[in-house]
């Protein structure tokens, strides 16, 4: 099985290495979760794959021949566009016409049909992330990069959004960056832990994602991840 995306190398900011040289691979069609404390360079890795500017120097290679879609913690909605128009932003930015039938189907799947004509200001935080998810789906890219997309949501909304995202993004190669061990344990097919010491793979529960919050395997995985994060903390 060849990887969907491979990143090998190292990032330096002000000549200081963020982490030792790493090799991160995204399994095709699966959820890879990159877990780590804040400031360790998780988002930097994601930005490298997305081909976005990073605040440092990268020495290494990004192997990826497939187009990507990006969803971040800031939903990045345009306040003057309706939910429907925001979901179809990609087409607007490329000067194309959005496929109306597909747009309607995606709004339906993300539970936004009743809100299609509303402006973002009239939505809750969870609904705004639904719009961002719908916009990501409209892009219809084989590789999807999620940069802590649910970090700002309350626990109940976050869980619902995790389940929704797991369902609608099934079959795509997903990289999710998070600092939440519970989120990693619920959603991952592969878990990588990134700390100042480097990148290590961590065992995932036997059940398939999205796992129930009370799933014993997921719970044990979450506890183990948390222990490793605490161990890895610089003293």
């Amino acid at each position: 099985m060849t990887a969907a995306v491979t990143v090998t190398g190292q990032v330096r900011i002000d000549r200081r290495a963020l982490f030792p040289p790493i090799r991160l691979q995204l399994a095709p069609g699966l959820w890879t979760v990159l877990l780590g404390p804040s400031g360790v360079g998780k988002s930097t890795l994601l930005r490298l794959i997305a081909g976005l500017p990073i605040g440092g120097v990268f020495a290494g290679r990004v192997e990826n021949r497939q187009p990507i879609a990006l969803m971040a913690q800031d939903p990045g909605l345009l306040p003057w566009l309706t939910v429907r128009q925001n979901a179809a932003l990609g087409a607007r930015l490329r000067g194309e016409r959005a496929d109306a039938a597909r747009l309607a189907a995606i709004l339906q799947r993300t539970g936004l049909s009743d809100h299609a004509g509303k402006l973002p200001a009239a939505l809750s935080g969870g609904q705004r992330q639904r719009v961002a998810l719908a916009r990501t789906l409209m892009e219809d890219r084989p590789v999807v990069l999620l940069d802590e997309p649910f970090a700002a949501l309350d626990a109940r909304t976050r869980m619902a959004m995790q389940d929704l995202a797991a369902g609608v993004l099934a079959g795509r190669s997903v990289l999710m960056v998070t600092h939440d061990p519970a989120e990693a344990a619920r959603l991952a097919d592969r878990i990588y832990l990134l700390t100042e010491e480097g990148l290590t793979e961590h065992a995932v529960p036997a059940t398939s994602p999205p796992r129930q919050h009370a799933d014993p395997g997921a719970f044990a995985c979450q506890t183990a991840l948390l222990a490793r994060l605490i161990e890895g903390a610089p003293r």
Binding site: A50, L52, A72, L78, W80, R92, L93, L119, P120, E139
Partner: protein, 247 residues
């Protein structure tokens, strides 16, 4: 609520006039040096034909100067935002253009452009240009990373990124620049009229000062103030209505 909000500034205005009258009485200065509010009101009535014609002229210059200056300023901001090279090259020139005292430039402009409306409009435009260019450019440079990341991953070209993201996001800053320019535009027009020509409220003031008709000079000054306030309010209203469309 709105009417009540206007009450306090109005009260201050009335207090100002009362204070002025008190000053006239207390100092006992002759009316040709310090005319009271009543004398100025009489001058307004007596010379209303001259003043009305001058006010129309000055207003035209203000509006034309504002449109010209704001238009050129917006255009330059767009150019600078579109190309970092242009921005680096022009930023010092932009700053220097603002450091040249406009009073020094106005006579030269009159020399070049004659005694008609043109030099007044240009002075007013020059003074409007900088606040608009500077504020709009800052706004265009401050598009959030989240939005720029999206535009890039979605494959937007520079022009569409500008039109659909950066310009709409910069509109509040452009609005601030326009409101500031609306304050300066009348100053520019009056400076232009002072320096040369025989029409407009600035020329009326110079003419009246030369003859010690301070009451007429004050009347012209009062009209300039009213025009400036009205123009600022109109631009503010337009900006608010326009921004409402962009949440």
């Amino acid at each position: 609520m709105k009417a009540r909000a206007a009450l306090a500034p109005l009260a201050i205005g009335v207090a100002g006039i009362v204070l002025w009258q008190a000053l006239v009485v207390a100092t006992g200065l002759p009316p040709f040096l310090l005319p009271g509010p009543r004398a100025v009101a009489e001058a307004l009535l007596t010379h209303h034909e001259v003043l009305a014609r001058a006010a129309l002229r000055t207003s035209t210059e203000i509006v034309a100067g504002f449109i010209l200056g704001a238009g050129a300023g917006s255009l330059l901001a767009l150019l600078m935002a579109a190309s970092p090279r242009v921005a680096t090259a022009l930023r010092p020139a932009l700053l220097v253009s603002q450091m040249i005292p406009i009073f020094a430039l106005a006579p030269i402009l009159t020399l070049w452009l004659g005694y008609g409306m043109a030099p007044k409009i240009v002075v007013s435009a020059l003074i409007c240009f900088f606040p608009v260019a500077s504020a709009f450019f800052d706004g265009l440079e401050r598009t959030s990373t989240a939005h720029l990341d999206l535009a890039r991953t979605m494959g937007a070209n520079g022009w569409r990124e500008m039109w659909h993201l950066r310009i709409p996001m910069a509109l509040p800053m452009l609005g601030s620049g326009l409101k500031l320019a609306a304050v300066y535009a009348p100053v520019g027009a009056v400076i232009g009229e002072w320096v040369g020509g025989s029409e407009g409220l600035g020329a009326v003031m110079i003419h009246a000062n030369g003859r010690m008709w301070i009451d007429l000079s004050f009347a012209a000054l009062a009209l300039v103030t009213v025009i400036a306030l009205a123009f600022h309010a109109a631009v503010g209203w337009g900006v608010r209505r326009w921004l409402a469309r962009f949440g």
